[in-house]
Amino acid sequence: MEIESEFQFEGAREMVWELLHDPDVLAKALPGAERLELAGEDEYVGELRAGVGPVTAARFEVKVRLTDQQPPAAFTMIVDGRGTAGFVEGSARVNLDEAGPDATLMRYRAELQIGGRIAGVGQRLLDSVGRSMARQSLEDLNSHIQSLRGGETDAGALPATSSETSSSLTRPVIISAAVVIVIILLAMLL
C-alpha cells in the first residue's frame, strides 16, 4: 500500500521544529502513543494503542529506525510495528519545506505492508481510516502550534536555528515527526 500526502502547518519551519519536540505537545496530539523511547542510535521503540470505532484492541510494539537524514529538511524512517492483530512494516520519506514566512509544508510518502487479521478483515476501512486519522493527528498538532504561538508573543523572536541548537533539536523533532507518521501508518491498520 502506498500513501502520499502533505499537510501545511501554520508556522515557520523553525517554530514547527522547536515546538514539535515538546513531548507534552505530542502526547496531547497523539493519544495512541503510550510509550516511545530511544533504543539506540537513531532507533526508537514504543508501544501504541490505537482504536477506531469498535476496534479497541490494537496494541502494537513499534520499532522506528531513521535513515538518510538531511536535517532539518528530510529523513526516511523504517517502521516495524507488530501486535496480536497484525503487523505493519514499511518505510516513509518525510520532507519539511518552508512554504512562506509562517508556513511549513510537510510531505510524506509511505510504502507499507499491512498484515495479519487486520489486513484480512479490515480492508473496507483502510483507506478511510488512513485519510481520517492522518488529517486528525496533523490538525491536532497544528492547533497546538497555534495555541502555543499565541502564548509566546512576548518571548520576542522565534527560536534561533544556530548550529548549536539545531543538532540537539534534530532528534526530538524527528522523533516527533516519526510519531506522527507511525500513528498514521498504524491507523491504516484499523
Binding site: 470505532g53 476496534v55 479497541t56 496480536t84 478483515v121 483502510l126
Partner: protein, 291 residues
Amino acid sequence: MKPAPFLYRCPGTVDEALALLEEHGYDAKLLAGGQSLIPTMNFRLSEPAVLIDLNRVDDLAGIEGRDGGVWIGAMTRQRSAERSETVRQAAPLVAETLPWIAHPQIRNRGTVGGSLAHADPASELPAVALALEARLLVRGKSGERWVPASEFFTGLFATALGPEEILLGVEFPAVPAAAGWAFEEVSRRHGDYALVGVAVLVTSGSGGRCDSARVALLSVGDGPVVSTAAAGPLVGQEPTAGTIGEAAAAAARDVDPPSDIHASSDYRRQLVRVLTRRALTRAFNRTQGRE
C-alpha cells in the same frame, strides 16, 4: 474466532448503565444489537474488558408519533421500526430505507440507536437522519441534551456522544406537505455494505419549482455526507432531467470517496452521480403525486 474474556454487566435502567460507564470508562463497551460489536470481538479486534448490555434496560425501546414526526427509542429493533405504521406515516424515508439494512435476521437484532451511535460510514440510518434533519437525545451524568444530526456525526465511527453518555433515541421531524423523498443504494449483494447510497428529501413550491433539496450520501467519506453542492442547481428551479442531472453531477464532484477492493474512488463517484439522479427523480415525482 472466540472473543477474549470480558466482564458482562446487565443493567436494568439507564441510570445503572450510566453508573457502569462511569465506573469502567474506556474499558467498557455498550452492547445494543451486537451486529457490529460481536463480530469484531470474535475477531479479537475489540477486546473490551466490560460489556454493558443494554438489552434489558427498560424504556430504551419504543416508537411514538410526535407532532407529525416520530420518536424512535435507541433500542428499538430495526425490524420493528421497519414494520411500524407510525414510522411509515411520519417518516416514510426511514421506512423506505430500513429494508436496505443488511438482512431481516440482522434487523431483528440490530437497533436503530446502535446503528446511529456506531456511525459506520456505510450505514444507512445516519445518512437518513441527516437528510431528514433529525435530532438525537443523549443522556449523561449531568442530564439530557438534544443533538442535531448535523452535529452528531463527527467523523469515522465518531459521534458527539461522550464516553460516559448513552443515546436514548432519535426524533425525525414531520415531513413538509409538499415533500418528496427517496433512498437509493448499490451494494454487491443485497444486504452487503453499501458501495454508495443516497437519501434525498426535496420540497416543491408554487409552479412545481424546487424549494429545497437535501442530498445525504453514505459510503463516500468518514461518515454520512450532505452534498450542499447538489442543492445548488435545483433550488428555485424546475426539476427537469437537466437540472437533476446537474445536481447529480455536482454531488459527484463534491465527494472524494475512499477506495476498497469492491469499489474504487472513481466507481463510487460514478455511483454517486447515477444514484443521486435516480433518487432525485423519484423524489420529485413523489412531490407531484406521480408515485
